[in-house]
C-alpha cells in the first residue's frame, strides 16, 4: 500500500523551503535553498531534493500547495495560500492557540494572532521598509564584512551594546559607521543590530498569550529570542525548525485538500 503524502513549498524572497508530510502531518523531509532570481527553478530544485530525501520518485499522487512571496511561480502546485495562513497552520502543529506568532523573514516581518481555536484574529506585516527583517541584518553584515553565520555568536558573547535609534536601514548603516569611527567593539555593534530588530518587532503590535517565533532569521539567530524576552513577559517558544513553518503549513493545507484524501 502506498503512503499518502502532501507537500508544501514556501518561496520566500530570500530562501525557498520545501516540506513533505505523511498523512499524519509528520514531517518526512525538507529542504532549504536560496531563492535567487529564478523562483520557478528554486522551487523545482527544492522539491526534487525533498522528494529524494524522502525516497520518493513519483510525484503524481502528492498534492502540493505553495506559499510565500513567489507562491504563484510554483508550476506544480495545485493551489496557493499566503504565508500568513501557512505560518499559522504550521505553528498550530506544535502549539495550541491562543498565540501571537512573530515571523521574521528575509524581506518582511509578520505578527499573526490566533485565538483559542486556532482561528486568526488579526495579522500585520511590516510596512514597505525592510527595517528589522533579515535583509537588514544581511545589509549590516555586509557593511561590517562579517559572515552572516557569525552574527548570533557575536551578539550573544557581547557584554554591552551600542544603541541604534533609527528605524531606517540606511540611516542605521550610517549610525553603525559612526559607532565604528568612535571605536565601539564589533560584538557591541552586532548586539545593537539585534536589538534594533527586536525594537522593530515590538513597535508593530501588542503581544498576547504565548509568543511563537518563526522564520529563517530566528532559525539562524536564536539569540533574538533572548533579547525579546527582556522586553515582554510572555512565554516565548519556537518550533523545532522555525524556518520551514510556512512550507509545513502549506503541506498541511495540501493534506487537508488532497483530492486523494478520502478521510
Amino acid at each position: 500500500m502506498t503512503r499518502r503524502l502532501a507537500g508544501g513549498i514556501d518561496v520566500g524572497s530570500c530562501t525557498t523551503k520545501s516540506v513533505i508530510v505523511d498523512d499524519g502531518g509528520n514531517i518526512l523531509g525538507s529542504h532549504v535553498l536560496y531563492s535567487g532570481t529564478d523562483f520557478e527553478g528554486a522551487s523545482d530544485t527544492a522539491w526534487r531534493e525533498t522528494l529524494s530525501s524522502v525516497g520518493v520518485s513519483s510525484t503524481d499522487s502528492i498534492c502540493v500547495f505553495s506559499t510565500g512571496y513567489g507562491r504563484n511561480s510554483v508550476s506544480f502546485a495545485t493551489n496557493s495560500l499566503t504565508e500568513i495562513s501557512c505560518h499559522a497552520r504550521g505553528c498550530l502543529r506544535y502549539f495550541p492557540g491562543p498565540m501571537t506568532i512573530v515571523d521574521i523573514g528575509g524581506q518582511d516581518n509578520k505578527i499573526i494572532k490566533l485565538d483559542q481555536k486556532g482561528l486568526r484574529v488579526s495579522f500585520k506585516m511590516n510596512r514597505k521598509c525592510a527595517a528589522g527583517t533579515g535583509a537588514f541584518l544581511e545589509e549590516m553584515a555586509l557593511r561590517l564584512r562579517l559572515p552572516l553565520e557569525k552574527l548570533d555568536d557575536l551578539a550573544k558573547q557581547a557584554d554591552g551594546e551600542v544603541t541604534l535609534g533609527s528605524y531606517c536601514t540606511v540611516f542605521s548603516g550610517t549610525e553603525v559607521l559612526e559607532k565604528i569611527k568612535s571605536g565601539a567593539a564589533l560584538d557591541h555593534i552586532v548586539r545593537g543590530l539585534f536589538h534594533s530588530v527586536v525594537k522593530r518587532i515590538l513597535e508593530m503590535d501588542t503581544f498576547t498569550d504565548t509568543v511563537v517565533m518563526t522564520g529563517g532569521v530566528i532559525e539562524h539567530n536564536p539569540f533574538l529570542i533572548d533579547l525579546l524576552k527582556t522586553h515582554i513577559p510572555n512565554d516565548i517558544v519556537t518550533p523545532p525548525h522555525p524556518q520551514i513553518m510556512g512550507a509545513l503549513g502549506a503541506a498541511l493545507y495540501a493534506l487537508q485538500e488532497d483530492p486523494h484524501n478520502t478521510d
Binding site: 505553495s66 512571496y69 507562491r71 504563484n72 510554483v74 508550476s75 502546485a77 495545485t78 493551489n79 496557493s80 495560500l81 499566503t82 504565508e83 500568513i84 495562513s85 518582511d108 482561528l119 486568526r120 484574529v121 488579526s122 495579522f123 500585520k124 506585516m125 510596512r127 514597505k128
Partner: protein, 415 residues
C-alpha cells in the same frame, strides 16, 4: 497554482454617457479659456462650487485633475518635479502631481479630451475642509498667474456642528462675494444661488441613492465603480446634466438589484474601504477583489459628496452646514459612529483602512481606529500602506499579499 479564476467586475453601461458629459464639460471650459467669453474659477471639490456657479463662473476642479494624473499613472513621473522645487514628498500628492505636471507642461486632459493645457484660472477658491494643502496648492497658481485667491477655513475635529461653526462659515462665504463680483463682472443674485443649490441638492440625493444601491446583496456596483461614477457629483453638481445622469445610472443599478446581478460575480465577502483610492491601481485592486469574489461595497471617500443639508431656502446656512457636517472634518467619535452605521447597513464583513502616505486627513487608521473598531464591532480590519497618487509609496506585492491574507481570514470565519 491558485485555483482563483481571472475575472473582472461587470461593467456599467451608463459609463459611456458619463464620458460624453465629461468631454462636454472640459471642452466647454477649454473653449471659454480660448475665447474669453466666460470666466473660469478653480474650486476645491467640496465647495463652495454652488456660489461660483451662481456668480456665472465655469468651475474647474484641480482635485479631479490630480486624480486623473493618478489614474493615468502620470503622477509618479511628474511628482519629482514638484519635489525638486521644494514641495515635499510628504505633502498631498494631488498637489505635487498637479504642480509637477504644470512644470513639465503636460496634462492627462490632452489624451482624454484633446486639451493641450489645464485652464488658467481667473480666480482660485478653496475650502480647507479637505486639508490645508489645498490652500498651498492654489497659492502656487495664484503666484504663478497673479490672479486672486480667496478661501474658506473650515473648523476641524468637530463633534457636533454648532451654530457658531455655521455663522463663521456663512460670514466667510459672504465676505468672498465682492471679490467674486469683481472678477466675474456679475452681481451676486441670491435667487440664482437658490436655483443652483436646488440642482446640487437633487444631484446629491441621487448620488446618495447610487451609493446606497451597494447595500443590496449582491451589490450591483463596487467602490471602484463609485470612484469613477462620482465624477458628476464632484464636477457637474449644480448643473442639470448631473441629475439626468444619475437617474440613468440608478435605473441600471436597480435593474441589476432586481435580477440579482452582482458587480462581482459570486460575491462572497463584503468590505468597507476607508481612505483615499489608490488611483494608479484601481484596475489591479478591482481585479484582485473580483478574483477573490469579494466586493468593496461601501466607502467613506465616495460618501464625501453627499450633502444632505443643502436647502435652497437657506442657501448660505445650508452650504455652511453641508460643508461642515462632512466626515473629514469631524472628530474620531463622530467618524466611528458614522462608519458603524454604514457597516451595519451594508452587511460588511471586514474593513480596509488605506493609510495614504501623503494624505493624513483621509487616513483614519492613524489614531488606533482600526483596533477600536475591531474590538467594538468584532470585525476584522486591515491597514494597507500606500498613497493616492505617489506609487513610490506603494508596494504591489505587499498589498496583494495583505488583501489575499485578509480574505483568507474571512474565509476562515465562514468555516
Amino acid at each position: 497554482m491558485s485555483d482563483r479564476q481571472k475575472q473582472s467586475r461587470r461593467q456599467i453601461a451608463a459609463t459611456s454617457q458619463m464620458k460624453k458629459l465629461m468631454v462636454a464639460h472640459f471642452l466647454e471650459i477649454d473653449e471659454a479659456r480660448k475665447t474669453g467669453k466666460q470666466k473660469v474659477a478653480w474650486c476645491t471639490s467640496v465647495g463652495p462650487a454652488e456660489l461660483l456657479h451662481a456668480m456665472g463662473f465655469l468651475v474647474y476642479y484641480p482635485e479631479n485633475h490630480g486624480a486623473l494624473l493618478g489614474a493615468t499613472r502620470m503622477a509618479t513621473d511628474v511628482i519629482p518635479l514638484a519635489n525638486a522645487v521644494g514641495y515635499s514628498p510628504d505633502i498631498c500628492s494631488y498637489l505635487t502631481a498637479d504642480v509637477g505636471a504644470y512644470l513639465k507642461g503636460v496634462t492627462p486632459l490632452t489624451k482624454a479630451y484633446g486639451i493641450q493645457n489645464i485652464p488658467k484660472a481667473d480666480i482660485l477658491v478653496y475650502n480647507t475642509n479637505q486639508c490645508r494643502d489645498v490652500q498651498d496648492w492654489f497659492s502656487f497658481y495664484a503666484r504663478e498667474w497673479d490672479v486672486p485667491i480667496v478661501g474658506i477655513h473650515t473648523h476641524r475635529n468637530i463633534r457636533e456642528v454648532e451654530d457658531f461653526h455655521i455663522a463663521d462659515l456663512v460670514s466667510q462665504m459672504k465676505s468672498m462675494i465682492p471679490t467674486l463680483e469683481q472678477v466675474s463682472g456679475n452681481r451676486f443674485d441670491i435667487d440664482r444661488l437658490r436655483e443652483v443649490l436646488d440642482l446640487s441638492l437633487q444631484c446629491t440625493k441621487l448620488w446618495r441613492r447610487v451609493l446606497e444601491c451597494g447595500a443590496a446583496k449582491p451589490a450591483p456596483l463596487t467602490f471602484f465603480d463609485a470612484t469613477i461614477h462620482m465624477a458628476p457629483a464632484v464636477i457637474l453638481r449644480g448643473k442639470p446634466e448631473a441629475i439626468e445622469y444619475y437617474k440613468l445610472l440608478i435605473a441600471e443599478l436597480e435593474d441589476r438589484i432586481k435580477t440579482k446581478e452582482g458587480a462581482v460575480p459570486g460575491e462572497r465577502h463584503r468590505l468597507y474601504w476607508d481612505g483615499m483610492p489608490v488611483w494608479g491601481k484601481l484596475r489591479e485592486l478591482s481585479d484582485q477583489f473580483c478574483q477573490l469574489r469579494t466586493n468593496v461595497v461601501a466607502s467613506t471617500y465616495c460618501n464625501s459628496w453627499i450633502f444632505d443639508a443643502f436647502d435652497p431656502k437657506e442657501p448660505f446656512e445650508s452650504m455652511a452646514r453641508a460643508y461642515t457636517e462632512l466626515f473629514i472634518v469631524r472628530d474620531e467619535s463622530f467618524k466611528e459612529w458614522y462608519m458603524d452605521n454604514w457597516i451595519e447597513n451594508f452587511s460588511i464583513d471586514g474593513v480596509i483602512f488605506h493609510d495614504a502616505k501623503t494624505c493624513p486627513n483621509n487616513s483614519n487608521n492613524r489614531y488606533s481606529m482600526p483596533q477600536r473598531m475591531a474590538k467594538r464591532l468584532g470585525l476584522p480590519t486591515l491597514v494597507l500602506h500606500g498613497d493616492l497618487n505617489d506609487l513610490r509609496c506603494y508596494s504591489e506585492e505587499q498589498t496583494r499579499t495583505n488583501i489575499e491574507a485578509f480574505v483568507e481570514q474571512l474565509d476562515q470565519k465562514d468555516g
